[in-house]
């Protein structure tokens, strides 16, 4: 065959996606500049949304794409948080550097954890991840240097050693606690941008296509050369790293840690699943919608205590029943709206005669009898 000019082209762009990218860039710039004008309360609230959204994106990648329904992601939040406390208190490492280290340690711990839980399937996998998290909680409760079962706090000197703190105090004219809030807010925003951009990039690479193929049929995926096990372990380790870094920031912000809070299944897994499910599993946009909805529920209804939890549960179930694809999934379906499209479309660029034409020409020929069997 001669080297013909290409007849096909691939595109992922949709009409709104270019605008969405520009919008996201402007929003990010706006959020980065926000501490100059916003109240400390708003900064804290946004910090909460950012970190929960990061965790939700990781769980979405795990469960929504790789089919790994884990209820033990608090293991990596807790390990990351404890790494931060150990590194800053015991080794005197600067807190933001320690948060990076937390990601590395969580990823490293994900390897032996995967070795155990990946032997389990389905519901047993879920239970296995939860048990693993409990094991880590019990082990860390034994570490006297980090307060054992009651936990410990970051000293003022550790907090004020955070990079950029002095500069923020001076620039914004705020005291150390408020300056710390701003610095961790920026760190969380950075983690969120890296998370969203990273996941989007991942899903648009051939790796993302392979993940989607696994979700539909592992049997077929293996027959075309996709290594399911390797992909899943990779996603598990990647999301553990993110969870560890997020955990480090969350507990740097609160400056206090205990095994129960660091490894809380309710905070770092149940709420996270709620966010993903109500927002829409298997999309990047879904968890964003879910995190915002969850924030408002939390803000206005948390005072009702147990009733609040029951309401969350009921709401989760109702949404699963009437809109299994979540809030965003329903919107996306109805209006064919994809802000971060990952779907590859084939575009025919040349109008040379195609096989379809050939076939049509044939089929419109004289009718022929059925083939003998």
């Amino acid at each position: 065959m001669t080297a013909a000019s290409p007849r096909f082209r691939m595109t992922t762009r949709t009409r709104v996606s270019s605008w969405a990218t520009i919008g996201a860039a402007i929003l990010t710039a706006g959020l980065a500049a926000l501490p100059a004008v916003a109240s400390r309360g708003l900064i804290q609230d946004l910090f909460f949304i950012f970190t929960m959204l990061c965790l939700a994106q990781y769980w979405n990648l795990l469960a929504g794409y790789a089919g790994l329904v884990s209820v033990g992601q608090q293991a990596f939040v807790g390990l990351g948080a404890y790494t931060l406390f150990a590194a800053t208190i015991l080794a005197g490492i600067e807190p933001l550097t320690a948060a990076l280290l937390s990601g590395v340690v969580a990823a490293a711990m994900a390897v032996p954890t995967a070795f155990v839980v990946f032997r389990l399937r389905g519901a047993y996998f879920a239970i296995g991840t939860w048990v693993a998290a409990e094991v880590y909680r019990l082990v860390l409760a034994q570490v006297k240097e980090l307060g054992g079962g009651t936990g410990t706090s970051l000293t003022m000197s550790v907090v004020s050693s955070t990079a950029g703190l002095d500069w923020v105090s001076m620039a914004f004219g705020v005291r150390t606690p408020a300056a710390r809030d701003i610095v961790v807010y920026w760190a969380a925003l950075a983690l969120l941008v890296i998370t969203l951009a990273g996941i989007y990039w991942l899903l648009r690479s051939r790796f993302g296509l392979a993940l989607s193929s696994l979700r539909d049929s592992e049997l077929t995926a293996s027959s075309i050369g996709v290594d399911a096990f390797r992909l899943k372990v990779f996603v598990y380790i990647l999301t553990a790293a993110g969870g560890g870094a997020a955990g480090a920031l969350i507990f740097l912000q609160s400056a206090r840690i205990s095994p129960d809070s660091a490894f809380a299944v309710l905070d770092w897994t149940a709420y996270v699943i709620f966010i993903v499910v109500i927002g829409g599993i298997g999309t990047i946009e879904g968890p964003i919608v879910g995190a915002v909805v969850f924030y408002f529920l939390q803000t206005y209804l948390a005072a009702f205590g147990t009733w609040y939890l029951m309401l969350l549960g009921a709401l989760g179930i109702v949404i699963m029943l009437i809109a299994p694809k979540g809030i965003w999934g329903s919107i996306a379906d109805r209006f064919d709206l994809h802000l971060f499209p990952t779907r590859r479309r084939l575009v025919v660029t040349s109008t040379r005669r195609t096989g379809d034409d050939r076939q049509r020409a044939r089929q419109s020929g004289p009718p022929s009898g059925q083939m003998r069997r």
Binding site: T220, S223, A228
Partner: protein, 242 residues
């Protein structure tokens, strides 16, 4: 090292419980050769395909591909080595588009970057008559279209050995003739083929050699027309095909 022996299967055995589905089977295939397999329902044809592609592991015996023992290799490893298959019951990636079904197969099966395989995927869709469905979700396809997608997806991995499992069932005569033409075109490029099919006419138009399986055993092998006219085959085969 014998270039002619691309695939070599020796004393292959597989049982499901007490049911022997593959019984001390020996089979050889040369590079670029086309082999047809026929046999009554439950003869173990699909099982043989599963054994060659690695979907199931044999109890006994060995499979060699390009002189290398692949008996215990994973399906993905065999695919990357150049073996592709279709599924008798189509298993598309339902939530991916038809084009994406091929794209992922091409990218992983041949280890290339997505951008490098777009052209090939488009051509395969064209050749298999699926171009007009390229951007539809695979789960919206009809059964016949799904069968074509099975073939298209297997081709996208750029196989040197293509395993086809009943891809002609339910086609009209014109469609069947078109399929035969397509499979012939694949052969011309040097791809070896093992084709399981109940529609013998289609097989006879393509294959060099025919194997008849019954109860997991090879009961006849040889030049297609000679095999089809042997008394034993006529009895077994026409017995079920009537």
């Amino acid at each position: 090292m014998t270039a002619a022996r691309m695939l070599s299967i020796s004393k292959l055995g597989k049982s499901f419980g007490s049911l022997v589905v593959t019984d001390k089977l020996d089979l050889e295939l040369g590079a670029g050769e086309a082999l047809g397999i026929i046999g009554p329902n439950g003869a173990g044809k699909t099982t043989l395909m599963n054994l060659i592609s690695g979907a199931i592991v044999p109890d006994t015996g060995a499979i060699r591909f390009d002189g290398r023992d692949i008996t215990t290799d994973s399906p993905q490893r065999r695919c990357r080595a150049g073996i592709a298959r279709t599924f008798q019951i189509p298993h598309p990636f339902g939530n991916l588009s038809v084009f994406e079904n091929l794209l992922v197969a091409a990218a992983y099966g041949s280890g290339k970057r997505e951008a490098e395989v777009v052209e090939a995927c488009g051509s395969i869709l064209d050749m298999t008559g699926l171009l007009s469905r390229a951007n539809r979700r695979a789960e919206t396809l009809t059964l016949l279209e799904r069968k074509r997608l099975e073939l298209a997806r297997a081709l996208a991995t750029e196989p040197r050995l293509l395993l086809l499992d009943e891809i002609a069932g339910g086609l009209t005569e014109a469609e069947c003739a078109l399929l035969v033409e397509t499979v012939r075109a694949i052969r011309t490029r040097g791809t070896a083929i093992i084709w399981i099919e109940h529609i013998v006419q289609a097989l006879l138009a393509v294959v060099d050699r025919l194997v008849v399986l019954n109860f997991g055993r090879k009961i006849a092998e040889g030049e297609p027309r000679a095999v089809m006219s042997s008394a034993e085959v006529r009895e077994i085969y026409l017995g079920i095909a009537a």
